[in-house]
Structure formats: structure tokens, C-alpha cells
């Protein structure tokens, strides 16, 4: 196994220096909702909070504890989706889920996924795919609770 395919520098960077970490209250007028997801096999936990004015995801904040993959994934999620229109955000969400479900056979589009492309290597390790998806699944639930559209059903 090529360990550096899994632990790409980008992932380790996000893990050691997470972006946008910490749950934040919404600024005036925005609607917020959150979802708490756990991975029962390893005990990893993440809470994702979505703030939205109804069309734009004004902030995505999160907190959690877990492995480098799950925590870096939350950091990338925040960076990619905060400030995006809901429709765009779900396109990115869908692309990330597709990448993670692809067993390493999907070539990611950097224009869509940004730092998320670093997780292409993770898709080859079935035991770790759930780690990478944990914050994204929590995001999906939080967004639905915040009343913004839900992307098509995904298989984790």
C-alpha cells in the first residue's frame, strides 16, 4: 500500500490546521440547523451546523473528534461549501460522494472539488470511506433540517 496516497499532504494539512472549525451562531436573520453523526465502529463524531438565508449557505461550521480523514474532510467541507448557493453546494456534495463511492476508479474534477480531490486515495480503502463521508452525511442532514434542498439519495 502506498501510504502517501491515503495521507496526502493536503489531508494532513487540513487535519493539523483545520479551517473554520468550531460551531458558530448564525448572523442576523439566517436560519440554522445542525446534525450530529457518529461512526459506531470507531466512535468518531462530528456535528455540522448549516446557516442559510434560504438560498445561500452563509456558513457551515462544525466540531468533532476523530481520525485525520474525518476531521480533514470536515475542514474541506467547510471550505468548499460555505458561502455557496445551495444548488451548487449539493452538486459538490454529489461529486464528493461519487468520488468516495468509486473505489478509486473515479477521476475527480478539481474545479468542482478543490482540496476534496485529495480524498481520491481514500476511496481505495473501504474501511476509511465512512470516515471521509461522516461530515458530508451530517451536512446533508443539517441542510435538510435548515430547509434547503436535498441532493439525490446517496449510498455511503
Amino acid at each position: 500500500m502506498q501510504l502517501d496516497q491515503l495521507y496526502q499532504e493536503i489531508i494532513l494539512d487540513h487535519y493539523k490546521h483545520p479551517h473554520g472549525r468550531g460551531l458558530r451562531d448564525a448572523e442576523g436573520g439566517a436560519n440554522t440547523a445542525e446534525a450530529h453523526h457518529v461512526n459506531p465502529t470507531c466512535g468518531d463524531e462530528v456535528t455540522v451546523r448549516v446557516a442559510t438565508d434560504g438560498s445561500v449557505l452563509t456558513d457551515i461550521s462544525y466540531d468533532g473528534m476523530g481520525c485525520s480523514i474525518s476531521q480533514a474532510s470536515a475542514s474541506v467541507l467547510h471550505e468548499l461549501l460555505s458561502g455557496r448557493r445551495a444548488g451548487e453546494a449539493f452538486e459538490v456534495h454529489e461529486a464528493f460522494v461519487e468520488l468516495m463511492s468509486g473505489r478509486g476508479q473515479v477521476t475527480p474534477d478539481e474545479d468542482v472539488l478543490g482540496d476534496g480531490v485529495a480524498f481520491a486515495g481514500v476511496a481505495r480503502y473501504p474501511a476509511r470511506v465512512k470516515c471521509a463521508l461522516l461530515p458530508w452525511m451530517a451536512f446533508k442532514d443539517a441542510a435538510a433540517r435548515a430547509g434547503v434542498g436535498v441532493s439525490p439519495e446517496v449510498k455511503a
Binding site: L3, C42, S68, R128
Partner: protein, 434 residues
């Protein structure tokens, strides 16, 4: 080095039984394989053990030569299969010094064995004529500990929910030992059963049970010991331990998955109502009602895992051939070696006893703040197989304030070189996550 003379008449160091580990390893085909380009270093035997050729051969031979259903056929194959199945029961009984093979109930695993006892309580509680020792209601108590595997927590939680009884537990000390200081307040006349892990699957602690047993007898409760991590690793004598029930599972002791054991005192098994209904567990069946077979058949409804039971018998033969005292000593030496070696790793914190006394060869630890998943992944890239996570003992993780741990566990085929490989691998983990 000072030589300490052991007084004559006492057991001498030379008396310790030993075996050739290299020869034992040669019996386990899987130990020859590579993982990710490295020699396999399997340090996850507390999760499941590997199987020697002697067991694999018996499993294949059973299907190739003696396959038939048990306890119902007059034909030759059926007789052979039944003899093999019941022969395995006798071997298992002898292995744990059970007074009679009829005290050995074959189950799927330890979890099922514990559930059978819990549901026997449950069923007895619904029947006014049932043995009062198994009847539970509000005011009655069930006692477990904070260091249990989930399989010895959840069945009792569910039982207490169904019956209105109260679940209580022994706490765990900072050193990872069972805290018996509140024993007399915890185990009282209200206690109906104490169900306790003998060897912790996460801390490695081997619990001293004699004080607890004495108290259990004083108050007239029952004692179940979860020996899933004991029977594979040390000589078990149910008479000596004076337990009422013990449970263990085959796959952790060189046997296949799908076969476990509930041992119970015959008089208690006889007093327990059935749990699963079906074929083989009955005496007579009429449309108006049924009567039930004597134990162990009463608790073995349906076609059992025949070949797996026969292979468990072969595993017992194998372990007996190597010698359980010798295996226990080998693991004790490995544990002492590993505790010393792990102490050299900067930032490593062990959960559980840090001395090789009153503990087995299962060591859980944290490496700085590197998440166990990441530790396990880097070790796997070097061929080192450890378990990471909460080890189905989440309350222990909570007790020590961590979401998960990394766990290395040893068995009769483990070598000190493999422990060296673990320590070297941990250096690599530190490099990646520094």
C-alpha cells in the same frame, strides 16, 4: 545481575513449561502470508485468533467424510457426526474441568451464551412457578462492571428494562483494575446475578474473583464469568473458580467462528426455562403444548454448528497438546517484553495495568494525540495488524476520556520480533503525524 534463589520446594523457574514457538507458528498457514509487501505481523488475536492446520483439517475432514445431521439419524453418517459432535462437547468439558459434558451448551458465541442466561431470567420472571433464583422484578439487582464488553452490558440492560430490575456496576480504577472497594454495598441481598468479565478485552486486566465469589455466595446470588479472553489463554477450571456460569467463544481459541460455549452448573441449567424453541430442544410436542429436553439439548434448538463444534474439539486438543500453562507463561513473557518496549515510545500512554501481573497479553494505548484509526492505518501499511476503535467496550473508553484506543494482543504464536515490529511501526506513525 543478582541471582535470586527460590527456596527449595517452591516452583523453580526451570519448572515453567515451554514450547517451541517456531514449531507452533509452522502449524498456522496464514502466518506465512505477506501484507502490503511486508511479513504479516498479527497482533489482533483478542479479536479473533488464527487457526492451525490441525483444526482446518478436522473441519474439512468432517464435511468430506462424516457430514450428516446430529441426534436424529440412525444411519452411519448420522451416528459418526453425532459422535464427533458429542465428543467435542466432552473435550470442551474436560478442557475447563467441568464435572459433566452435559454442563456444556454449544452456542453461536459468547454473546449468544450471555443472552441465553439473560433470557432465561426473563422467561422465568414471567412464570410464577419458575425457580426463584431466576425470577427478577422491581427491587432486584443485576451487577456488572464498567470494564465489560458490550455483550456483557446490553443483554442485562435489556433484561432490566423488561423486568424492572436495576442494573448496577463495579467501577474501574485509574490503573485499569476492578474497583472492589464498594463490594459489600454493590452486591447485596437484592442482587440476583453478578456477571463479570474475567479478562478485559480492552485493558487486559485479569480480575481476581475470589472476594467477589465469596460475597456472591453470602448473598445467595449467581455468578457468571465472561471468559472469552481467558479460556484461550490460561488454564480454566470452573470448579476452582466456583462460578455458576462461564461463557467463551471458539474463534478466539483457534477454532472456527460460529461456535461458542455456555457452561453452567447442571442443577442451574436444569432449573432454567428454555430460550429458543424448535427442533432438538423438546421432549414431546403436542398442538396443546410441549415439554422440553434436559440440558444441554434444551438450549440448542435447531441444527447446531456441527462441523464448527467438532473443530472446536480439535482446537482444544491442539491447545492441550501445546499446554495451557505453557501458553500462559509464553504470553506473560511477551506481555512483560511489550510493556517494556512500549514504554520506550515517546508519548505513548497505556490504558490498563502497566505491570505484567494480573493482566493478559492485550495492551491498549494512545500514541500522543494521533487518532487510533490513523495509527492502525500506518501500521497496516507495514504489515502490522492491530485493532483500533472502542473494542466494543465504549464505557472503558469513556472512563479513560478517549473515543478509541489502539490495541495489540498476543497469542501462543506471537513472537518478540513481532512486538519489535510494532514498536518500529509506531515510530513511523510518529513521523507521518509529527
Amino acid at each position: 545481575m543478582t541471582t535470586i534463589a527460590i527456596p527449595p520446594g517452591m516452583p523453580q523457574y526451570d519448572d515453567v513449561p515451554r514450547y517451541d514457538v517456531a514449531r507452533v507458528r509452522a502449524d498456522f498457514p496464514i502466518l506465512d502470508r505477506e501484507v502490503n509487501g511486508h511479513r504479516l505481523v498479527y497482533l489482533d488475536s483478542a479479536n479473533t485468533s488464527h487457526k492451525p492446520r490441525q483444526v482446518l483439517d478436522v473441519l474439512a475432514e468432517h464435511y468430506a467424510r462424516h457430514n450428516a445431521n446430529v441426534s436424529r439419524s440412525v444411519h452411519t453418517l448420522g451416528t459418526e457426526a453425532t459422535e464427533a459432535y458429542e465428543g467435542a462437547r466432552a473435550k470442551v468439558a474436560a478442557f475447563i474441568n467441568a464435572p459433566s459434558p452435559d454442563e456444556v451448551v454449544f452456542t453461536k458465541n459468547s454473546t449468544e451464551a450471555i443472552n441465553i442466561v439473560a433470557y432465561a431470567f426473563s422467561n422465568a420472571s414471567l412464570r410464577p412457578d419458575a425457580d426463584p433464583r431466576f425470577r427478577l422484578g422491581p427491587g432486584d439487582e443485576v451487577v456488572i462492571s464498567e470494564m465489560e464488553h458490550h455483550s456483557n452490558i446490553v443483554p442485562w440492560q435489556l433484561l432490566c428494562e423488561r423486568t424492572g430490575a436495576t442494573l448496577r456496576w463495579f467501577p474501574v480504577t485509574d490503573q485499569g483494575r476492578l474497583d472492589e472497594s464498594g463490594l459489600d454495598d454493590l452486591v447485596t441481598e437484592r442482587t440476583k446475578i453478578v456477571s463479570l468479565v474475567h479478562t478485559s478485552n480492552i485493558l487486559g486486566t485479569v480480575n481476581a474473583t475470589s472476594r467477589i465469589t465469596r460475597r456472591v455466595r453470602e448473598v445467595g446470588a449467581l455468578l457468571l464469568l465472561d471468559c472469552s479472553q481467558s479460556v484461550p489463554h490460561l488454564p480454566m477450571d470452573v470448579v476452582d473458580y466456583d462460578a455458576d456460569f462461564i461463557v467463551f467463544t471458539g474463534h478466539k481459541m483457534c477454532a472456527p467462528t460460529g461456535i461458542g460455549v455456555l457452561w453452567g452448573r447442571s442443577e442451574l441449567l436444569a432449573a432454567m426455562p428454555p430460550v429458543f424453541g424448535g427442533g432438538s430442544m423438546i421432549e414431546t410436542v403436542a398442538m396443546s403444548g410441549s415439554t422440553f429436553a434436559a440440558p444441554p439439548a434444551r438450549f440448542e434448538a435447531g441444527t447446531p454448528p456441527i462441523a464448527e463444534a467438532v473443530a472446536l474439539g480439535a482446537a482444544v486438543d491442539y491447545l492441550t497438546g501445546v499446554g495451557m500453562r505453557a501458553i500462559q507463561w509464553h504470553e506473560k513473557e511477551l506481555t512483560a517484553y511489550a510493556l517494556d518496549a512500549l514504554a520506550t515510545v515517546p508519548g505513548l500512554r497505556i490504558f490498563g495495568p502497566t505491570v505484567p501481573v494480573g493482566r493478559g497479553g492485550t495492551i491498549s494505548f494512545a500514541l500522543g494525540d494521533v487518532h487510533p484509526h490513523d495509527v492502525g492505518q500506518v501500521l497496516d501499511s507495514l504489515g502490522v495488524q492491530v485493532r483500533v476503535g472502542h473494542h466494543c467496550a465504549r464505557p472503558v473508553c469513556t472512563r479513560f476520556g478517549v473515543p478509541a484506543t489502539t490495541r495489540a494482543s498476543f497469542y501462543l504464536y506471537t513472537t518478540t520480533e513481532e512486538i519489535d515490529a510494532l514498536v518500529a511501526g509506531l515510530e513511523q506513525v510518529r513521523k507521518v503525524f509529527s
